[in-house]
């Protein structure tokens, strides 16, 4: 959740900015977590389940009858638990996650025990939190709970509140003397982990939820992220403390971090947690659970920079998957399918925030499509864009068996045809296409597959090549044969081929490859290897023709090279290819690879 812990927030004002790594400085890249090692005990696969926040945060009629966020009650959790067990458990959904508010009354007033720890609100949860977890466990499911980062202000108690199982420690002993606040809402005092009592407080919270039997903790408002930056909002030490505290309980509790975590600290999140929310809340805080524009559609731009961090033991969390009931979700069928497609190919946790007692038949089919769930849960890598992030875009991942997971997206407001070109996947000839959503083999396709997609629509395929690898001719950006204009200049880049790239492509900066030779005229899918810590656009043209501006998805930092393919019409013989920053900022270019045939 991203709401103020204490008051109903102005929704728009609190919309968190997407955290972007703007600086072009060097960032240490951690290889994909845990890849190739033995499966971790937790989050070997993206977790699946249900979360309470989407319904709590919605103004959909009938949900929050006792005021904002009032949906969260013992009875409602029980109802959703039963529905999850009955309808979705057999497909792999197992977590029932209680979100914010379990220690707050219907006016959002908090309650704590004598040790400054969050205490179940007796009206919402009359049987207490342990009983809720027990009931969830009795259905063969796992229980999740929620806490904000830091020492909540209400728990401070003039600093005299004792810390559980920590002789002599009180709340005054765990915070900074200036009572600086922290977390995404400034609802807590920042904990000073240089003080010996601080870890004890986290231990006490961990022991409490472990004692109740929880299997999952969402730690929210974590910075850098949650709309905050700077030392005051740096909660890496909190997260580390939680990691340590959980280990000390001996109970395997999945630690999930929220929200809009700073990608610059991805290595920290990987080290200490099992998942991290990469973006702001998916909920719209409106009359439905979500809406396309606010902010389901943000994920297509915000996910690619994170892709490399996902893997067994830690996953990119795209937030709730609210596709189960079109009317409540506030989405078209096409939008719901696209939503589920992106979550599956990005290998996001699949937890729905829908009312599981009211899934419509289409929603149930989306949530229970075994082929799509297998994309999310299988031993395959997450997909990332293989085309620029234009309104029509294609994402793909190469699977260990040689096939490709390929998703077509049309993010435009009107229908469009979208093609996946085999050349952009690196092979040529024919390939078999299986439609995962429709459980149908579509047949064999030469060179590409094209489908008509509705507005905000998608298709999800497994593509099995039967052709041969495509040969490419590479051209380095830093080659002296190229022409640089404006501020464009060659720069070192350890991740780049040849150790160099062309950067400073901004405000008129231009890079022209002068002698790109192809055997015959035609449209080639030219691979662009580039570095861009944020999504940037560049206009590309061949032979001085009409330039087409494309948006290059973020590579996550300024030390990582990614590639996308762009169609360029070339003539037989020598061609020029130009990247023009125009009146904006373009990505750095490492090299281009031009297919030897098309």
């Amino acid at each position: 959740m991203r709401s103020s812990s204490y008051s109903v927030m102005p929704l728009r004002a609190l919309r968190a900015a997407v955290v972007l790594a703007l600086a072009a400085g060097a960032v240490t890249v951690t290889p994909a977590a845990h890849a190739g090692t033995t499966a971790p005990a937790l989050a070997a696969k993206p977790y699946m389940g249900w979360s309470s926040w989407s319904m709590q945060s919605s103004k959909y009629p009938g949900l929050n009858l006792d005021g904002d966020y009032s949906y969260l009650t013992e009875a409602n959790v029980a109802k959703q638990t039963d529905a999850l067990a009955a309808k979705l458990k057999k497909y792999g959904y197992e977590y029932v996650n209680i979100d914010a508010g379990w220690w707050m009354d219907k006016t959002w007033k908090t309650g704590y025990d004598q040790y400054g720890r969050q205490k179940a609100d007796p009206v919402r949860f009359p049987s207490g939190m342990k009983a809720v977890a027990d009931r969830i466990h009795s259905k063969g499911l796992k229980a999740g709970i929620y806490l904000p980062a830091g020492l909540e202000k209400g728990a401070y108690g003039d600093g005299k509140t004792p810390i559980w199982n920590a002789d002599g420690c009180t709340t005054a002993d765990i915070v900074y003397s200036d009572l600086r606040t922290t977390n995404g809402w400034d609802s807590a005092y920042k904990i000073d982990f240089s003080r010996p009592c601080a870890q004890k407080y986290i231990d006490s919270q961990a022991q409490l939820i472990a004692g109740w039997g929880y299997d999952f903790l969402k730690l929210d408002g974590v910075g850098p992220g949650s709309g905050k930056s700077g030392d005051q909002y740096d909660n890496v030490a909190d997260v580390a403390a939680w990691n340590k505290a959980i280990a000390a309980t001996g109970r395997p509790i999945h630690l999930e971090l929220s929200w809009s975590l700073d990608i610059g600290h991805a290595a920290d999140w990987q080290k200490y947690s099992q998942g991290w929310r990469i973006d702001t809340d998916v909920e719209c805080y409106c009359n439905t659970l979500v809406s396309w524009e606010n902010s389901v559609d943000d994920r297509w731009d915000d996910t690619p920079g994170w892709t490399k961090y996902a893997g067994p033991g830690g996953w990119n969390d795209l937030d709730s998957l609210d596709v189960g009931n079109g009317e409540m979700d506030g989405l078209t069928k096409a939008e719901r399918q696209s939503y589920a497609t992106l979550w599956a190919i990005a290998k996001s946790p699949l937890f729905t925030g829908d009312d599981l007692t009211r899934l419509d038949s289409y929603g149930l089919s989306l949530l229970t499509n075994k082929e799509v769930i297998a994309v999310d849960q299988g031993a395959t890598p997450p997909a990332r864009p293989i085309t620029p992030s234009d309104p029509q875009q294609v994402w793909a991942a190469k699977n260990p068996d040689g096939s490709y997971t390929v998703a077509l997206f049309n993010l435009a407001d009107k229908p469009a045809a979208v093609s996946a070109n085999w050349a952009a996947l690196g092979f040529t000839g024919k390939a078999a296409v299986r439609d995962l959503w429709n459980h149908e083999n579509l047949g064999s396709f030469k060179d590409k597959v094209t489908e008509a997609l509705p507005a905000h629509g998608s298709r999800l395929f497994t593509v099995t090549p039967h052709g041969s690898a495509l040969a490419f001719t590479g051209y380095e950006a830093e080659s002296s044969a190229n022409t640089l204009a404006g501020n464009a200049s060659v720069a070192d880049c350890s991740a780049c081929s040849g150790g160099k790239k062309v950067g400073n492509l901004y405000l008129g900066g231009k890079l022209t490859f002068n002698d790109v030779v192809v055997p015959k005229a035609g449209t080639y899918q030219v691979k662009i290897a580039y570095v861009s810590g944020d999504a940037r656009s560049a206009a590309v043209s061949a032979n001085g023709g009409g330039a087409v501006s494309h948006k290059y998805p973020s590579t996550g930092d300024w030390g990582t090279v990614e590639t996308v393919s762009v169609p360029l019409t070339l003539k037989a013989g020598s061609n020029t290819i130009t990247f023009d920053s125009g009146n904006s900022y373009a990505p750095d270019i490492d090299r281009i690879d031009v297919p030897k045939s098309y």
């Binding site: 009107k414 229908p415 045809a417 008509a452 997609l453 023709g545 087409v548």
Partner: protein
């Protein structure tokens, strides 16, 4: 019509005039009982030649109909179709579906009210949906739809679970219905619903009838039939289940009548009942019979004109139409077949939207809502003229008639309103002479005799000159008889309006137009604007020829000829070197203004000719003005510029403007939408459909290949390099009464076949050479050695 410039003619005389004019109409532009259709004995060829087949790989949806919906129409009854497999939507229109009325109460400034209730607006007739839930777009593959320009048929095909489904949509003129025919191969079945709804609160129903507050009655009806399953009426909709094939037939119309004397209504007409009769009669035939009847009728009109601009590459041919539009802009490589197809698409729109009913307005016959910009009306200061420049130039002379019939039916009301209201003291454009005669119009006109927005004194002349040009192309005596009263009435108006002035620094007395506005820019009260002087000069000339050819009104023609001699003719500004737009050496408006009003003498007029027959300084001044107007505008403004550059034989510029109009429109930007409709960006991110460029651009293509004025033809006056390798133009009418077939290679004509449709003598020029051809009507000659 009286020549007496008395301020007021008794109203009953006007009504008598109206009745007389109405009786002279050749056709009945209304929703009426159809004659028994001519059914072809043999199936017309169903094999499409690929350059005339546009295709797409995505449908439209409810929110994108104006950019992606495919238009169909039978000249009166039209629709935009979404072609979505699971949710076919047709936004159905009838050309006469107009709110508003005579609008004869002026605003306080003496100008016309311009609202949707007083002036009125073109609106939708209804909305037809065919829902097939199992064929959701997300569940089908291999989607493709085509518009076969050679046959006038939209086809959609896709695969669902191994079955290929196909549907054809067409609007038949002989059967006066729109037909949707759903078929499949592979053992598939259709299950779903058909819903017809009004868009003005009528609700849904298999038929409906209602009336607007202006009294216009309208109605629509649908029926469906299939094989192998059940088709049943279920409440307000039609359910079908398990059908191997399905045919849906829809029709509708209004009780509009092109008759001022009857208030533009036919009280004997019951549109609701007639719509039901039409769909029932059509449903007595198989879909194939209806299709063959339609294709036979359509091809007869479409096939009269051919155009080849060269050969496209295999790569270009492999792209769908929208990809091709994008590639044309991206690669900056000519795509001659696409460019020719754009011309043929314009012809398709005209055949579909201008036969037997009202003419094409700002959006033609196609709407995506009930509140089109500028009411979807008839704008008389360029737009309706541009719509019809293409008709003769692209071999669609018969489609011009809707425009003629409209003017003829409106002129009694235009006359009445002019006599009663033009000299209103609040009207800044009133005749300062105090005299009032003849007729004129507003900048906008509706189908009820009403004007909208501001008075447009010279609009009468431009309408008449456009009508006259059609006579020059066709030499149709019937047409001349029809339009003669309009020309005469317009002359009477100007006879009463022209002012005498002495040119400064001389003793020369000239006639100039009273206070006016050069269309849409500059001072509001300028006397002697170039626009009016040029149009009236041409009008007077045309009238004198008309009177002579009809052997009528010899004395009056002499009077008009005398006035013409005294007309001030616009000059080149000594300051700017441009042809003056106002009677002033100064530029009083926007340099790059969209309108080319002061250049009406270059195009469509003939006063300024770059062939040595007009003073060189005048041609230079027109060229300088056109250059200053720039090359970057939008749809119709680019098309007009292209036509002017074609007249100046500047092939590169004429072509560049065509290419500019072919740019893909994205997010509402100026250019061509996926469905090839021309989009005009009225504000950032908001593009609207305006059909004039869809006609003006093809007219420019034609004008680049063949220039004509009576007695003179010029071949390939502005042939761009992009089309020069080889090409042909066949069935192209030429002014003076000829039809030309022309072939070229390597930039030079190889063969020209000239057939007379009434013309007798003309010079035929190419480059520096010229020869004279004399023919009898019906005779023809083939010229082969023109390039020497």
């Amino acid at each position: 019509m009286t020549t007496d410039p008395s301020p007021m003619l008794p109203r009953r005389d006007l009504l008598a005039l109206a009745a007389m004019t109405g009786a002279a109409l050749a056709g009945l532009p209304a929703f009426t009982a159809s004659a028994a259709p001519q059914r072809p004995v043999d199936s017309p060829s169903t094999k499409a030649s690929s350059p005339l087949e546009l295709w797409w790989q995505a449908p439209a949806d409810d929110n994108s109909m104006i950019e992606q919906g495919l238009p169909v129409g039978n000249g009166r009854l039209g629709a935009l179709a979404s072609n979505d497999p699971g949710h076919e939507v047709l936004l159905v229109t009838d050309a006469t579906m107009w709110t508003g009325g005579l609008n004869d109460t002026l605003d306080s400034d003496g100008q016309f009210p311009y609202g949707r209730t007083d002036f009125g607006s073109f609106t939708l007739l209804g909305r037809l949906t065919v829902d097939i839930p199992d064929h959701d777009l997300g569940a089908v593959s291999g989607y493709r739809r085509t518009l076969d320009l050679a046959q006038g048929v939209v086809t959609t095909s896709y695969v669902r679970s191994g079955v290929t489904y196909r549907r054809k949509i067409f609007a038949s003129r002989p059967d006066d219905v729109i037909v949707l025919h759903f078929t499949q191969s592979g053992g598939g079945r259709y299950t779903g619903t058909v819903t017809l709804e009004g868009t003005h609160g009528e609700g849904a129903g298999v038929s409906f009838g209602a009336a607007f507050p202006n009294g216009l009655k309208y109605g629509a009806a649908v029926t469906a039939y299939g094989t192998g399953g059940r088709v049943t009426v279920s409440g307000t909709r039609i359910d079908f289940s398990g059908c191997k094939d399905l045919t849906v037939v829809v029709s509708g119309g209004t009780d509009y009548a092109p008759d001022a004397a009857k208030g533009y209504r036919d009280p004997s007409l019951d549109p609701h009942g007639l719509a039901r009769t039409k769909v029932r009669d059509a449903a007595a035939h198989s879909a194939d019979t209806l299709l063959n009847t339609h294709v036979g009728d359509y091809r007869e009109v479409f096939g009269a004109f051919g155009l080849s601009l060269g050969t496209s590459t295999a790569e270009q041919r492999s792209l769908d139409t929208w990809e091709r539009i994008q590639a044309r802009a991206r690669d900056e490589v000519p795509d001659p077949e696409l460019e020719a197809a754009y011309v043929q698409f314009g012809r398709y729109l005209m055949i579909s939207g201008s036969r037997g009913s009202l003419p094409l307005g700002l959006q033609g016959l196609w709407l995506d809502g009930n509140d089109p910009d500028w009411m979807g009306d008839y704008h008389t200061d360029i737009n309706i003229q541009m719509n019809y420049w293409m008709a003769d130039r692209a071999g669609l002379s018969s489609c011009f008639d809707a425009f003629t019939d409209y003017c003829v039916a409106q002129v009694p009301s235009w006359t009445d309103v002019t006599r009663r209201l033009f000299n209103d003291p609040r009207n800044r454009y009133r005749n300062s002479s105090g005299k009032n005669a003849g007729w004129t119009i507003g900048i906008s006109t509706n189908p009820y005799g009403g004007g909208g927005w501001w008075w447009h004194p010279a609009g009468n002349a431009w309408l008449c000159n456009t009508l006259w040009e059609h006579y020059e192309y066709t030499r149709s005596h019937t047409h001349l008889e029809k339009i003669y009263p309009l020309l005469k009435g317009a002359c009477e108006f100007w006879e009463a309006r022209l002012l005498t002035t002495t040119l400064p620094g001389t003793s020369r007395e000239v006639l100039i137009a009273d206070s006016d506005w050069s269309p849409e820019q500059g001072p509001l009260d300028a006397k002697g604007i170039t626009y009016a002087q040029e149009l009236v000069w041409a009008l007077f000339g045309n009238y004198c020829v008309a009177a002579a050819e009809l052997k009528k009104d010899g004395g009056y023609a002499e009077t008009i000829a005398g006035l013409r001699k005294r007309l001030y003719l616009p000059q080149v500004s000594p300051k700017s070197g441009w042809l003056e737009e106002w009677m002033s050496p100064d530029n009083l408006g926007e340099t790059t203004h969209r309108h080319l009003s002061p250049l009406v003498g270059l195009f469509p007029g003939d006063r300024i000719r770059p062939d040595g027959s007009t003073p060189a300084d005048l041609v230079a001044g027109a060229t300088a003005l056109l250059t200053a107007r720039g090359m970057e505008s939008f749809g119709w403004a680019n098309a007009w510029r292209s036509l002017c550059w074609a007249r100046l034989k500047n092939a590169d510029k004429a072509y560049q403007l065509i290419v500019t109009n072919l740019r893909p429109s994205t997010d509402g930007s100026n250019g061509t939408a996926p469905n090839l409709f021309d989009i005009y960006e009225v504000s950032q991110g908001r593009g609207i459909f305006q059909i004039d460029a869809n006609f003006g651009t093809p007219a420019a293509v034609s004008e680049m290949l063949l220039y004509s004025r009576p007695g003179h033809l010029e071949l390939l006056p502005a042939l761009p390099d992009a089309w020069s390798a080889a090409g042909s133009l066949t069935g192209a009418p030429a002014r003076g009464g000829f039809v030309v077939d022309l072939r070229w290679r390597d930039g030079r004509p190889t063969e020209a076949h000239i057939r007379s449709v009434g013309g007798r003598t003309t010079t035929v020029a190419y480059g520096g050479t010229s020869r004279t051809v004399t023919l009898r009507p019906g005779g023809s000659v083939t010229l082969k050695d023109l390039a020497r």
